[in-house]
């Protein structure tokens, strides 16, 4: 966390200055491609681009969050590489990580904004009490989250919303949303917003997005939710190594049954993989060790909007959210029976009346029709 700088050297130059060999650079590019979830065949292009890349200034804002996203990033499974990537950027403000505190810290943010106006990146983690909410719900240095966000974003090149809270409102926004929590894209309409959702996001995805911006100088291709396609283009279900079991109809039904031991599909245990888009299945967690489904637990769907309100974590995707559906059904049935009974009684009465009032057909009456 040095003083904010306006880096003029390209990345290639600066890395050579650090004594990085060409083979080392090639290795860096291979790792970067992997991190960006780009095919290995892209390595030469990445090398060419990285050689010319420039270090951007980054301001990291933390709002209603749990610091899990930052934890995730700093526990990234490739710390050396991580450092390199962080070296590639100039992280000018991150109130959890930076050494400076108090007014000095805030001053660093303002200085960076001024020095790099129109070119700096803003990373946000945590949701924001909206403009109509009580601003006191979350403040930094006496300023509301909303004010800080809007002020910082005004001259930013782009905003990266890291974590489901920043991307979609997350836990703070779960019903009944007491703080009026909103996501970054709810509030920032005039700047490009990239959502890196997840609770927390896969660390490599956070760095991957940075690397992409760094490498190509522009934002990656995004999905309907503003998430980079490279990481969120496919659902957990589609990339899940247990998918063949789903296709074969082999399911674990309890956490201790044969299916669970055999590593069968966790759909019936509530896996939200089918509706969840994230890179866990390939990027994995904890230095590539494993990921939730590999360790036998269904996907919670943490990278999707409203995941806290999307039904029980152990209810299958197909189960409706209606509470006590059986009771609702019975009650509605009973109401129906009463309604039908009433209607039918009226009808039945009409039948009886028709029978009682019925005039017998006589020969005379028949003769009249001839």
């Amino acid at each position: 966390m040095a003083t904010p700088t306006r880096p003029d050297k390209t990345l290639g130059e600066s890395l050579q200055d650090h004594g990085l060999s060409r083979r080392g650079f090639l290795k860096l590019c291979a790792a970067t491609a992997s991190m960006m979830a780009l095919p290995a065949s892209m390595v030469p292009r990445i090398a060419a681009a990285l050689e010319q890349a420039k270090r951007p200034s980054v301001i990291w804002l933390s709002f209603q969050e749990c610091t899990g996203c930052t934890e995730s990033l700093t526990r990234s499974h490739a710390p050396t590489l991580e450092n390199l990537i962080l070296d590639m950027v100039s992280l000018d403000y991150h109130h959890t990580l930076q050494a400076a505190s108090g007014e000095a810290a805030e001053a660093a943010r303002l200085t960076a904004m001024e020095a790099n106006a129109g070119e700096y990146l803003v990373i946000v983690d945590g949701s924001i009490p909206g403009p109509d909410a009580n601003p006191g719900f979350s403040t930094v240095a006496g300023h509301s989250n909303y004010d800080i966000l809007m002020e910082t974003v005004e001259h930013a090149a782009a905003v990266i919303a890291v974590g489901t809270c920043a991307a979609f409102g997350g836990l703070p926004q779960a019903k009944p949303n007491p703080t009026g929590a909103m996501s970054v894209m709810d509030l920032v309409k005039d700047k490009p917003v990239i959502n890196v959702s997840g609770c927390p996001p896969v660390p490599m995805v956070i760095t991957g997005v940075l690397a992409h911006y760094l490498t190509f100088g522009r934002l990656p291709e995004l999905d309907g939710y503003g998430r980079p396609m490279a990481f969120f283009g496919q659902s957990i279900h589609d990339r899940c190594y247990r998918r063949p079991f789903y296709d074969k109809g082999l399911f674990a039904e309890r956490f201790d049954d044969r299916g669970a031991k055999e590593g069968w599909c966790l759909y019936r245990l509530g896996c939200k993989g089918p509706t969840t888009y994230n890179a866990c299945a390939t990027m994995k967690w904890n230095s590539g060790t494993s990921w939730p489904i590999e360790s036998g637990h269904p996907c919670l769907g943490c990278s999707e909007p409203s995941f806290w309100d999307a039904g029980g974590f152990y209810e299958p995707v197909s189960v409706p959210l209606t509470a006590n559906p059986g009771t609702t059904l019975l009650t509605a049935g009973a109401v129906g029976a009463v309604v039908g009974g009433t209607a039918a009684s009226v009808a039945k009465h009409r039948v009886k009346k028709a029978n009682a009032d019925r005039q017998p057909v006589t020969v005379e009456a028949l003769e009249k029709t001839l």
Partner: protein, 149 residues
């Protein structure tokens, strides 16, 4: 191979409580992809890289794949930004290139289908520099400038 088996799928994973990992059937398609790549290399000379860390492997799938590929004659380590271990498989032209950082954590794992993996080859700019370097050393030894022809 040493304790930190570079070709093992999950160097950091202790053996699962179930013992032997099962195959989840995701390795076979990769083998087919390698076959295609090899065919391309033989017929057109085009090289291919496959990023294994981007594939949805289940526990055991990678081990199965490396078992299938076997071990060839060449093994090399490149020491740049941490060790990169290059292992020829039993199939000539198919290489496993395992990129690690200085803390022995894998950055990524590639299969390269090429006569020689790119990371083993000197880079063109380095070659250009090499001549100068050698000249400098010769000059130092003999005090004369070598004839350039």
């Amino acid at each position: 191979m040493p304790e930190s088996d570079p070709m093992s799928a999950h160097p950091a994973t202790p053996n699962g409580c179930q013992g032997t990992p099962r195959s989840f059937g995701n390795a076979l398609p990769v083998l087919n992809e390698i076959r295609h790549a090899l065919e391309k290399l033989v017929t057109t000379g085009e090289e291919t890289r496959i990023d294994l860390s981007a594939l949805p492997f289940g526990p055991g799938d990678l081990d199965r794949l490396t078992d299938w590929l076997g071990t060839g004659e060449v093994e090399a380590t490149v020491d740049a930004l941490g060790p990169t271990r290059v292992q020829e498989t039993a199939i000539p032209g198919v290489w496993l290139v395992d990129y690690h950082n200085s803390e022995q954590q894998r950055l990524t794992l590639h299969i390269e289908v090429a006569p020689v993996p790119e990371i083993l080859r000197p880079q063109p700019q380095d070659l250009a520099d090499a001549l100068n370097q050698l000249d400098a050393r010769l000059e130092q030894e003999t005090g004369t400038t070598p004839l350039s022809s």
